[in-house]
Symmetry: C2
Subunit: 327 residues, 2 copies
DNA sequence: ACACAATGTGGTATCGGTTACATATTTCAT
DNA sequence: ATGAAATATGTAACCGATACCACATTGTGT
């Protein structure tokens, strides 16, 4: 691996001049410029990121802390972040926090110790870590953190309203809302959206809580429906629980969407693939990740942020778990 | 952030002694040791990874290059790698190559430039890059590279045989094998396994090729089945195409598993979730990733590799797309 | 008691860049 | 013509570690 000194020697200039050339900082004369360009080409020189980081205390690495890449929501998000990072010349370190505060803190430690340029964080701990005295840029993704930290989220209330209203429009008269874990802000907001629509209506409604995973959701919903068979519409606050609901409903020999309609939330791939395919309020996951990455990079590069927070509109995707027409 | 000099000053020793202490290299007297420990605690000192990397030309970062984290096979793999890396004090950079040689090369460049400790690679390019003259450890995952590079794969032939034999045992008499892209070695091997079982039998069989994605697979299989309705068993070389097959079969109003049975390959989450749930040859994806990470770390840390390649047995998971008993 | 090994410690060059500062040359308005 | 400003370039300190080498001290076998 050639170093900056090799280039300097070959181009018969000093390392300072080469450095100035590389970073486009300060003056570099035409002759030097040409000689340096030639030398770089000849040597196949690439500046050492590590040395540069040591000097500037900033690398071209972005940390991405998410609960679990296995959770079907996150691969697409990660992909969007990585694509955007790639485009701007950054590289992504992936961290699975498991919603575990200790692990999260550990990653923060590790990442800052690597002089990462910034961190994108999906965390349920809105207060725990003290993000303010951290001097590196942070963007909160999917779940808001403290007030002054830039945030990218989907408009959860709007999405929940969309789903609920849609079920009603399609003729549902007795609605079940399957909320997510209470600790997660977005889950609360989705339930809130559901409530807001319901209170203007005169239909029966129930709200239950379930973690965001298929199996548990399936069990919980199965049990619920067994004792409350009158329910004819389910709004699940995540596609995972919606899919659990779908399985539960199947087991109960109810037909979807004839006997009971289901609308999920998230828009994960899997929704397309289940039978019947899932009507859902899709978050534009890719856009979410992209927006977060862009905001972070803007901060890193000192560009002004036009918005301190971005709220992306969800979109209802009508598939097969809801009726085609009002009955 | 305190530095090693701060520690040295506080402990009234030289930086060399502190360094020796930190790396457990060379002699450090008892008194110095205690003073240093105290100083480190007092200052909350953590050695700078970046400075260390510059000096040693090795970081604690592992590069993971995969085609696409959105592909449902990879999140679990990535998770396994990350978990194992975490356990041993390493950190993972995620790279999506899109099976694109240029992108792959670029990532190699970027990663080596960061002095990564090693790279785990899922690549279809078995010759392109010259891995030999690379001085950092590499492990090939899922798809073998050149001969002398440690490799972790599933026993694809065995898995394909398992699936094919199972279909036959369950009474299928006219088999369709849906292979993956020909460029992918594992796909070839799975087709080979299928062939091996078939040639000992006297049943009809067909082989078609399809990319590993739902939509395309669905279309291709739909068209095929339309003109060949006698097929009563499908072995799909990936769960993705198996799920495509499932949808295609549904559209054709054939019942699964009564009219036609389906067995997939991979064991992705989604298989559990489709209806009917997918019988499949499951790779132990987590174990795959874990084994790869461990092999890599062993290489990095100079420990001997007992095996230059690991081949993990797949396991047939019987679910609902095959019949319960032989008909 | 002496030679030699083992133990303990510090000085400092080095990794490969950045950047403040000094210095030299050119440009240009007056 | 001349002094200030702009342009161009080099020297060397610095980022925060590692590691080679020199040197001092202690232990030990004969």
């Amino acid at each position: 691996m050639p170093t900056i000194s090799d280039v300097a020697r070959l181009a018969k200039v000093s390392v300072a001049t080469v450095s100035r050339f590389l970073n486009d900082s300060g003056y570099v004369g035409k002759k030097s410029r040409e000689a340096i360009e030639k030398a770089i080409k000849e040597l196949d020189y690439i500046p050492s990121e590590v040395a540069r980081s040591l000097s500037t205390k900033q690398s071209d690495i972005i940390g991405l802390i998410i609960p679990d890449i296995k959770n079907p929501f996150f691969p697409e998000l990660a992909r969007a972040v990585e694509d955007t990072a790639f485009e701007y010349g950054y590289t992504v370190i992936l961290c699975n926090s498991d919603e575990n505060e200790l692990k999260e803190k550990h990653y923060f430690q590790t990442l800052t110790n690597k002089y990462v340029a910034g961190i994108i964080l999906t965390s349920i701990f809105d207060q725990g870590t003290n993000f303010k005295n951290l001097k590196i840029p942070i963007v909160a993704l999917d779940r808001p953190l403290e007030i002054d930290i830039p945030t990218v989220t989907t408009n959860n209330i709007e999405g929940a309203k969309l789903a609920t209203q849609f079920l009603i429009d399609k003729g549902a008269t007795s609605l079940l809302c399957v909320g997510g874990p209470n600790a997660i802000r977005s889950s609360k907001l989705r339930i809130e959206g559901f409530r807001e629509v319901i209170k203007e209506q005169t239909i029966k409604s129930y709200i239950i809580e379930s973690p965001y995973d298929f199996e548990t959701a399936e069990t919980i919903i199965f049990d619920y429906l067994k004792s409350n068979p009158s329910v004819d519409g389910i709004f699940a606050c995540s596609d995972a629980s919606a899919i659990g609901a779908l399985k539960a409903v199947h087991k109960l020999n109810m037909r979807v969407p004839e006997d009971i309609q289901i609308v999920g939330f998230d828009g994960i791939q899997m929704g397309k693939v289940v039978s019947p395919s899932l009507t859902t309020v899709a978050q534009n996951i890719y856009q979410l990740g992209q927006a977060a990455a862009k905001m972070l990079i803007n901060q890193i590069e000192g560009k002004p942020l036009e918005n301190t927070s971005v709220c992306i509109h969800p979109k209802l995707i009508e598939r097969e778990t809801t009726r085609k027409e009002r009955t």
